[in-house]
């Protein structure tokens, strides 16, 4: 079975005969469609010059959702059934004149060399549409923090960002141009194909099953296949490493894996849930995750990438795992022969090695709901605030019984070949009063828990030292007597308080 790909390109339906499974959306836009407004700056989802907006229908009620993504790390078949908007659409939408987003950028001198500009425009367009669609009464624009957050995935080397931030304010002062969401939704509904996408090109298949059963059958039948979720890492395998891939099995259309269910004692997150949605759910319960969420890659990467992908990929520097491990998250693996649940930390056997059979897939992540006795914090250290990979990512969760630590769960990323708990430190803390003496014992134990490496992000010495110092920060924030507020110990909290 080999069917065509159907998508909306700038609101026009397009049918695409089978393409290579890993054909990048960016090269297809530029080379096949002549839409050269979308630029390649890095081909790894870090610069945002290729930012586009994807619209899709969500959930059983087929709700329309529009989000920014990086075209350089999207494969064309993954866009089946979706709407792709490039910068070229905006003038069309505005009837030939500049869209308010574009006019504001001109008015505020937001472009210099102009190469990053289409990407910024699309991130701003995404913000603009979201704001116009969800505007509360009396509200005319998002708050400044939201504006900056919307732009963390776009690099500009010329302006220093100030005029672009100004443009993001000014665009709401100009006569509005609203997207006809009903029309777009109808067009997307009309586009939907009754059958799951199955295409084969040059002997390589792209499969987008729509049920868990067919997914597991495919997984069992194709042990060499690669599971594709958001494409934010596999895109790099192709663009940068030229890694030969056989069949791709795409999780994105398996509705059951795109749900978030809050139960009596835990939140269950499907493996195909985007990082954006997963963190939105988690931060409702764990506000301490907010800074990590803000700094986890960028909106286009979080919109495409999945929490399940971050976990299943198993990189030692994946930012979601230390916090989830500290919180006691479990994962559920699915196969045709059944399901098994295991603590997240036991999933990781060694560098990029996982306790995952060839016929299994990661199905769900179960995160316990907060326990009021647990003090939880997670901290990330990197050279840059936005969209950087951690040198050290720490997560601490202790259960206090009066002054005494009843139990401790501590996990780090960047300190070992996998995300890993700190058993010696946990032991040093457990049963002890949460005081400076215990802190010092914990810091000594931490030094023995890990043997970090030196690389371009930090030296082993820095990693060791700051691991202990982050425990110190955690102590200052959570000690029983005179705990310090976040903005007294964390510059990022202080900077957001200041602004």
């Amino acid at each position: 079975m080999n069917r065509s790909i159907h998508l909306l390109l700038n609101h026009r339906p397009i049918t695409i005969a089978p393409v290579p499974a890993t054909r990048s959306l960016l090269s297809w836009l530029r080379e096949q469609q002549g839409l050269t407004g979308t630029k390649e700056g890095c081909a790894e989802g870090d610069c945002g010059a290729c930012t586009i907006v994807v619209g899709e229908l969500i959930g059983p009620e087929r709700r329309l959702r529009l989000r920014s993504v990086n075209a350089c790390i999207q494969f064309v078949p993954a866009l089946d059934g979706k709407a792709v908007f490039t910068v070229e659409y905006l003038r069309e939408q505005a009837g030939g004149t500049l869209h308010p987003v574009q006019q504001a950028m001109v008015d505020c001198h937001g472009s210099q060399c102009g190469f990053c500009t289409p990407g910024f425009v699309m991130s701003l367009w995404s913000l603009y549409n979201e704001q116009r669609d969800n505007q509360r009464p009396g509200e005319t624009r998002p708050d400044p923090a939201k504006i900056s957050s919307a732009l963390t995935g776009n690099l500009c080397r010329c302006t220093g960002y100030r005029p672009i931030i100004d443009a993001a304010q000014r665009m709401f002062d100009l006569p509005a141009v609203d997207l006809d969401r009903d029309r777009l939704r109808q067009a997307l509904l009309a586009l939907q194909h009754p059958d799951a996408l199955e295409q084969v090109h040059d002997g390589v298949g792209f499969h987008a099953p729509r049920s868990v059963e067919s997914l597991l059958a495919l997984r069992a039948a194709k042990p060499a296949a690669t599971i594709l979720a958001g494409c934010t890492d596999i895109g790099l395998w192709v663009n940068k490493q030229f890694r030969p891939l056989s069949d791709l099995i795409h999780l994105d259309r398996v509705e059951a894996l795109k749900t978030i269910v809050t139960g009596p004692d835990h939140i269950r997150i499907g493996a195909a849930v985007s990082l954006t949605d997963a963190y939105a759910a988690l931060t409702l319960h764990y506000p301490a995750l907010a800074e990590l969420w803000e700094r986890f890659a960028s909106p286009p990467v979080r919109n495409a990438g999945t929490l399940g992908g971050n976990i299943a990929n198993g990189s030692p520097i994946g930012d979601s795992m230390p916090a989830l491990i500290a919180l006691g998250a479990r994962i559920e693996l699915l196969s045709q022969s059944g399901r098994r649940s295991l603590p997240l930390e036991t999933f990781y056997l060694g560098y990029m090695q996982k306790d995952l059979a060839t016929d299994e897939i990661l199905g769900y992540i179960d995160v316990p709901l907060p326990d009021p006795a647990v003090r939880f914090r997670t901290y990330k250290l990197s050279k840059r605030f936005d969209s950087d990979i951690s040198a050290v990512c720490a997560a601490f969760a202790i259960t206090l019984d009066g002054q005494t630590i009843r139990s401790a769960r501590i996990a780090f990323g960047g300190m070992a070949a996998t995300p890993a708990r700190a058993p010696l430190t946990e032991a040093a803390l457990t049963g002890q009063p949460w005081d400076e003496h215990t802190l010092a014992a914990g810091q000594q134990a931490l030094d023995r828990d890990y043997s970090p490496l030196t690389d371009m992000r930090a030296s082993a010495a820095y990693r060791r030292r700051t691991a202990g110092n982050l425990l110190h920060r955690f102590y200052l924030e959570t000690r029983v007597n005179d705990p310090l507020p976040a903005d007294a110990v964390n510059i990022h909290a202080a900077a957001s308080t200041a602004s």
């Binding site: 630029k39 790894e44 210099q112 960002y161 100030r162 040198a391 690389d455």
Partner: protein, 822 residues
């Protein structure tokens, strides 16, 4: 002194404002460059019109080289790179490369018909390595394939046998080994040895400053088309089309008139496309010549960062003597840059570093050595500031050290050492500082930024905050404008007026986002008294204006603006003479032949007014378009060339003295930072910038350059870390590992203002160059971090902190200060 704030929407007035209004009632100085013609030198600002391409940028319609519609049969190139830092090539086996899907052929050094060299000054820069590789990333061969990704995949399939040779990786190693790409330079004034010996206080040591990747968002790209008679047409993202023309001609054994290079716009340059676009221009042209196909080479980001040179990192040995107030009495510095494997532009970079070690300070007895270490790394090159920042930050570090040693506010020590206006005003290289405004400028910023009160508040904060500490610094900038090499200071332009009154200007400069085309179009519009919407600037093109200089050294608008003005003034004189005839004789057009501007009385020609799209002779006026139409029919030449050569310059390369700079640009900045003493993380809380752009041609564009330069400089000094492993391989070769500032690095409080200071020299509209100098404003951020680090000590300990001030470097410095015996 009048200032304008960036917080005012600079765009509110622009297009509707006639940029010419102010010229009417001003006494116009005579332009000595264009005898008998008046130069435009309005006393008020130019207009903040948007960038000429802004509407194209935002709509994705601005075309860069890779966006050009491809010719049928276009093929693509990828480069095969060295995996060793220094090795003899024993064997190259390209069998698998040639067998890869889509591959048409390969190029090796032996395929180059002419010179295998693309070095801009010294001929030590092979296009493709021959028998030896000199850094990890050096191109060895090129593979040509039908498609881009086919070429890239094939390039990885080469089998190359190497025999390793000893490698030198750092500037310090090069200094110790005496390994230099050009002979060291030395400039001495007075008797520094005696001065140092006699000084009551002395500081000696070593210091380093890191390099910087340009990270232009558009990577290097060239597209070559073979044309008739062996000619090559080249589209290249380059700051220097003429040099691309030359290196391609040399490589192909062609005459210059057989190569045409066109450059509409770059997606950023920052110096990285001044000389280093050459290798790619050559490879595409050679491939186009060999395979008779249109050939495109667009570098993947990782390849770009592995192949191309960056800002030079520097190593310093210093020795400074000073009195108890902090006044510098004598100083000695030896600066060694990491030049990389070839000379490239390292020599001129070293010269500019030498000429900027003084920054804004008078250095009585001084000894400056500037040398370029040959290392087995990428060949470092021009980068915004061109050695100036590396020279100037060294003296700032010394002054900061002096102040901390003496327990003084570094600002006071800075002020004590400023150049004087009538004395203490001679630079080490013999140029008198004639236009010094640093005292007034810094005083104004000190007040407007509330420096002193904030200094007190900071001390209170730090006394009560156990983990987070604040730091504050005010640093000055003085930056010399002109190419050190006198003969580069020339430019040409062509202005065409068409019979419908529309105007086209072409000049020798290149547009890389800095707004050069906008400023040049404004100059032409001002000169002819029309709105800028009538003026279009076109792609730089070596077949239009010949023998252009690089768009570099901040001189783009100074040189090309003057050249375009010259061209426009020549046409204006002809139109004025014609208007005198036609309007002066009751408006009738008679065919008297082309009026000769020299035949009309100069006073009468000057009395003809060009403003508001009208030409006025006494009481009579005529629209610009109508006059143009009539002038055409009267056979008046409506187009002209223009030329400019910067006056007053001289430079002796042997003695390193002269007047290398037409004038200086000034500025100062205050940064306030917050540092985490547990992790070394930091955030910039507030920045106040005050910068001298002369009389601005376009205030909004200038503010864009100032803020952008500041943030870029801040990146250089803090988060941007180039990291080579022990095998000499650069490991930070993509934005995933090399971090340039992002949106949250823009400070929440960011006040940028122009310091109004009409240029005392006769520059275009009395403006000042603004491309590079603001980058140095970021020194304030680095020294604010150092100030915060110092707060954990006894008040007299100077933190040992070298840029880039990464969290790790900052934490190291904090621990060093804490460990320092009180």
């Amino acid at each position: 002194m009048k200032t304008v704030s960036s917080s005012q929407p600079a765009s509110t007035s622009p297009a509707s404002t006639s940029p010419d209004d102010s010229r009417q009632d001003s006494p116009l100085p005579v332009d000595t460059e264009s005898p008998s013609l008046r130069s435009s030198a309005p006393p008020s600002d130019g207009a903040s019109v948007p960038h000429e391409s802004a509407h194209l940028h935002v709509s994705g319609e601005a075309t860069y080289v890779d966006d050009l519609r491809e010719f049928a049969g276009t093929v693509h190139v990828a480069l095969g790179l060295s995996e060793r830092d220094h090795a003899r090539i024993e064997a190259i086996d390209l069998t698998e490369v040639l067998a890869s899907p889509g591959v048409i052929g390969v190029l090796q050094a032996s395929d180059i018909p002419g010179a295998n060299d693309c070095g801009p000054i010294v001929h030590d820069d092979p296009i493709l390595a021959e028998s030896e590789v000199q850094y990890v990333g050096q191109p060895i061969f090129a593979v040509i394939a039908e498609r881009y990704d086919q070429a890239r995949r094939a390039a990885r399939k080469a089998r190359i046998d190497y025999a390793d040779l000893p490698a030198i990786l750092t500037a310090r190693e090069a200094r110790d080994a005496g390994s230099f790409v050009i002979p060291p330079m030395r400039l001495t004034r007075g008797d520094p040895a005696a001065g140092l010996a006699a000084a009551p206080n002395r500081l000696r040591g070593e210091w380093t400053v890191g390099g910087q990747e340009h990270f232009y968002l558009e990577g290097q790209v060239s597209y070559a088309l073979p044309r008739e008679d062996g000619c090559i047409q080249l589209w290249c993202s380059t700051q220097h089309p003429t040099e691309m023309q030359h290196v391609v001609a040399h490589a192909l054994k062609l005459r210059a008139n057989q190569v045409v290079v066109e450059m509409r716009r770059m997606g950023g340059g920052f110096g990285g496309k001044e000389s280093q676009s050459a290798l790619f221009a050559c490879v595409t042209s050679i491939a186009a010549w060999k395979f008779r196909r249109p050939v495109k080479l667009r570098l993947d980001r990782d390849d770009d960062m592995m192949i191309t040179g960056k800002r030079h990192d520097f190593h310093y040995d210093y020795d400074v003597g000073f009195d108890d107030d902090g006044r510098i009495l004598a100083s000695r510095i030896a600066m060694t840059s990491r030049a990389g494997f070839s000379a490239d532009l390292s020599g001129p970079v070293a010269t500019r570093a030498l000429c900027h070690f003084d920054n804004a300070y008078y250095l009585p007895d001084v000894d400056i050595v500037s040398q370029c270490g040959r290392t087995n790394t990428q060949s470092n090159t021009a980068f915004r500031g061109f050695g100036g920042p590396q020279g100037a930050i060294a003296i700032e570090y010394l002054i900061d050290d002096i102040a901390r040693t003496l327990g003084k506010d570094p600002l006071d020590v800075r002020k004590l050492n400023f150049y004087g206006t009538s004395e203490r005003n001679l630079t080490p290289y013999g140029q008198v500082v004639e236009d010094n405004v640093i005292h007034e400028l810094v005083a104004e910023l000190e007040t407007s930024s509330d420096y002193r009160a904030r200094r007190m508040g900071l001390a209170d904060f730090n006394a009560t905050s156990p983990v987070l500490k604040k730091g504050l610094a005010l640093t000055p900038v003085k930056f010399g404008i002109s190419f050190n090499m006198v003969h580069f200071n020339q430019a040409g332009a062509l202005v065409h007026i068409y019979t419908d009154g529309s105007i086209l200007v072409n000049h020798g400069g290149t547009e890389m986002g800095q707004g050069l085309n906008t400023k040049v179009a404004q100059v032409v519009a001002n000169t002819l008294g029309v709105d800028i919407r009538h003026v279009r600037a076109t792609a730089a093109d070596t077949s239009k204006v010949a023998n252009t200089s690089a768009t570099a050294a901040s001189t783009g608008a100074d040189l090309n603006g003057k050249a375009a003005e010259d061209a426009a003034l020549r046409i204006r004189a002809r139109l004025a003479a014609f208007a005198l005839q036609s309007l002066g004789s009751a408006g009738g057009t008679t065919d008297k032949g082309s009026p000769d501007r020299d035949s009309a009385p100069g006073d009468a020609i000057e009395a003809v007014e060009f403003a508001n799209e009208k030409i006025r002779v006494g009481p009579r006026e005529i629209s610009f378009t109508e006059l143009v139409r009539q002038a055409y029919e009267a056979r008046v030449q409506l187009w002209s060339d223009g030329f400019y050569a910067t006056p007053k310059l001289h430079w002796d390369r042997n003695t390193l003295t002269g007047r290398p700079f037409f004038y200086f640009a000034y500025g100062a900045a205050v940064s306030e930072v917050l540092v985490d003493t547990l992790t070394g993380e930091w955030r910039l809380l507030r920045a106040d910038l005050l910068h001298d752009a002369g009389n601005p041609i376009n205030p909004a564009i200038d503010i864009g350059q100032i803020e952008g330069g500041f943030i870029q400089g801040m990146g250089w000094l803090t988060m941007e870390e180039l990291w080579w492993n022990a095998q000499g391989k650069l490991m930070t070769h993509a934005p995933s590992t090399y971090k340039i500032p992002a949106v949250h690095d823009c400070p929440p409080v960011f006040n940028t203002r122009l310091y109004r200071n009409a240029n005392r020299e006769d520059t275009i509209m009395r403006s000042k160059a603004v491309g590079e100098p603001p980058l140095l404003l970021a020194f304030s951020t680095f020294f604010a971090i150092r100030d915060a680090v110092a707060s954990v000590g006894d008040g007299r300990t100077a933190p040992p902190l070298c840029p880039p001030a990464t969290p790790e470097a900052i934490l190291d410095a904090i621990e060093a200060v804490r460990a320092h015996p009180a």
